[in-house]
Symmetry: C2
Subunit: 458 residues, 2 copies
């Protein structure tokens, strides 16, 4: 872990810190280095596993970026990336990854403008903090932070350095999510009251594999597993918390203007017993497999209810260890009506529009309120992963970085959304006792203006 | 309020209490007066408004009951009842209702075996306690109790008198609910993990009317309203609590064997702001209507999460002040699969049966697991109100009372289900802090055997 790069980084960041301590922090919401918009953004990627590769692929479809550097400690991922970059007729990037901290040598490169971080969770905040300190525009995969201290690290570093952080929550760009956001902003639902969302996804074949393939084929994880099973599963073994809240909560937070005229005030979380992972191991690896003896801390279904300053409630569900169809289970309810939408259900009831006491389908609503971005980019977007949403999230990142302007989902959002993990952990331990959210904006939510999501630029 | 009947009642119940205080309570779960099964049950009705009339109508379809007495302070309801009783060729009943406590004179009748109570909520526990003290088999409409003290009153009186109390929760007899209960008992869902349920019903036209018709036509309530608006709406004005939990929670409680090998341990409740009722008054009565100035205490949507001793969680929703389609929003989830079912959605996923990651419809499941009671009585049941469920709940009450045996939903159930009201009120006031459930069984839930719901008798 100790390397030349790490020592040189520490020396450099110490200088940065010293500089900051002499200067009062005037950078709140304004980047100190603002200059005219870049035509070409010089990108680097830390982590080019399955998720990072998706972002790299989308970048290679663009005319406004150069790939300056890539970093991964797995040389096979580097090779796959180099092949793709070459095939796309991009200049060959510099390579990093000789050890876990080699990414800091990447951050030393003067000509990198922006960095996309797609690594295991425990590296997220550490790498994002280092990237902001290096003066780069920072894109960070979800979840952004694992602990309350890390949530503050993201906010404090953003404010101290003036570097922007964007949390790369792709679900915020789902076509249905953006259409419903458009409806919320145009007051279709009236006074907002209640939201439901969550991550309801059978991940058992992701959490366990045979060490060769990414998904399934065995009940190994950690050192004997590969891909996400190599690092993700350990969180289920030792933490009873909603460790992955942002796919559901990100879209809802934008609808409710969280950190921009509203904020999360408190959370109560409850967990079921932990049954699913042991059952999966026994059924697929036998009761004598060493992993069948493990006691899993993470309850199979975790329910959190958040109260907001404006008097809404939000139910967030984490449900990943049981057989079930995929759903983020979105519901939006206001004084004028209600909508439920996920992959298997799209229905709405709006007073005065829908027949009393009935549901109607959402097709005509989705057409009427289709988001300008989807109207403009729908065709090119659908070639990217995850039904096109990855195009939009990277597009917003790159366009924001070219302007060096505040991103739509910033360090305060990353902190507030990710804070669900440590807060739910404490609440569950106390049978649901309410936990207060820190106000990461330091009171500024009362004057921060809502981000304008309904535009066709990005 | 003070009448001869009240004084004579007090005298009588004082004697009963004296008798009990000399005798150790050996009656736990056993009725002291058990005797051979009655062929004909002698029934009385306290309250023959819309709800009580439904029970009366179902009783008049039977061959095994006599209607000994009816009580209502509204003489027009008495007249409607008498007409119906006459038309059904039943003997004319004795009439009570000359004042609010005249029901106690009804309870003095020696030849009444069982009493059905369908009155405003604030009378429920008081009347049920008096009925049990009078030695009658007691049927009580939902919700059973308004406060924690009343929950204990039901349990204490049952134990002290040996009289049985059945809470008349009709939703427990819905065809889909009983089929899913049957599936639960046959282990279709595996280890139970998570339930959702609630009362999601736009009641604005019930809470307000013009004082002439039961539903809508104005924005009056209380003294100027009629039917439920005369008494129900006041609860919304002054209490922020889930005041009506049992339609959702009753069915879930039977699936989870609550009070019979399991119990509710704690509850966390959160409320949204109160917007809907004021909006309805302003939109339908104008902003200058006196009721437009009222501040409604009840939040529009109340979310409670209950933890059980066996490690399940239950989300209970109370959502009655907003435009929305009716739903009790049932979800049952276990280690083997999940089902969501209400009037607009019926879908299921069971591992090994359903295609991975997909939902399937429930028609074949409902057929396979149709409850013996519905197979037997389905045709005669569907003539009764509420899709036939009122036939079954009254049938269970009458058959239990004829045997004088413990009912399927007893005083402990009535107390535990109704305790959601006072507990949610305290939790909401404390932003969701967990509140402990009392153990109304005094520890006996660890040895009480699950009630056998899957039989064709009642």
């Amino acid at each position: 872990m100790e390397s030349n790069s790490r020592r040189s980084f520490i020396k450099k960041s110490a200088l940065v810190s010293a500089g900051i301590s002499l200067l009062p922090n005037l950078s709140y919401g304004i980047n100190l280095n603002k200059s005219k918009k870049k035509e070409i953004l010089k990108l680097a990627f830390i982590g080019v596993g399955l998720r990072g590769m998706n972002h790299l692929n989308n970048a290679l479809n663009r005319k406004d970026v150069e790939i300056i550097a890539i970093c991964d400690i797995d040389s096979s991922r580097i090779q796959i990336s180099l092949d793709k970059i070459k095939k796309a007729n991009f200049k060959a990037p510099k390579i990093f990854g000789k050890d876990s901290y080699d990414y800091r040598n990447l951050l030393d490169l003067e000509d990198v403008d922006a960095v996309v971080i797609s690594t295991p969770w425990l590296w997220h905040t550490k790498m994002a903090v280092d990237t902001m300190k290096a003066g780069k525009y920072t894109g960070l995969e979800v979840s952004a932070a694992n602990t309350m201290e890390e949530c503050w690290d993201l906010v404090n570093t953003h404010e101290a350095t003036g570097s922007h952080l964007m949390i790369l929550e792709n679900v915020n760009y789902r076509r249905d999510v953006l259409a419903v956001l458009n409806m919320v902003k145009q007051d279709v639902f009236g006074d907002l009251l209640h939201f439901r969302c969550g991550y309801k996804h059978d991940l058992r074949h992701v959490k366990f594999n045979n060490g060769k393939q990414a998904y399934g084929g065995g009940v190994e994880f950690g050192e004997k597993g590969t891909s996400e099973a190599a690092w993700r599963t350990q969180h289920s073994l030792l933490r009873n918390a909603d460790v992955y809240p942002t796919h559901g909560l990100g879209p809802v937070a934008t609808m409710a203007d969280i950190n921009r005229g509203n904020r999360f005030v408190s959370i109560s979380s409850n967990s079921t017993k932990a049954v699913g992972l042991n059952k999966y191991i026994v059924e697929n690896g036998g009761k004598n497999h060493p992993n069948a003896k493990l006691k899993w801390k993470q309850g199979d279904i975790i329910t959190s209810t958040i109260e907001t300053a404006n008097g809404e409630t939000i139910i967030v569900t984490h449900d990943v260890n049981s057989p079930r169809p995929y759903s983020l289970g979105f519901e939006v309810q206001g004084s004028q009506g209600i909508s439920e939408f996920d992959y298997h259900t799209q229905r709405i009831h709006i007073e005065g529009k829908t027949k009393a006491h009935e549901w109607e389908g959402m097709e005509s609503w989705f057409q009427k309120y289709d988001h300008p971005l989807w109207k403009k980019y729908g065709n090119s977007a659908t070639e990217a992963g995850h039904g096109g949403i990855d195009f939009f999230v990277l597009n917003a990142f790159i366009e924001s970085a070219k302007e060096n302007s505040a991103p739509p989902m910033d360090a305060y959002d990353a902190a507030a959304w990710s804070a669900v993990t440590p807060l739910s952990e404490v609440s569950i331990e106390n049978n649901g006792d309410a936990q207060d959210f820190p106000d990461f904006t330091r009171g500024n939510w009362i004057k921060r203006k809502p981000y304008n999501w309904i535009k066709d630029k990005f």
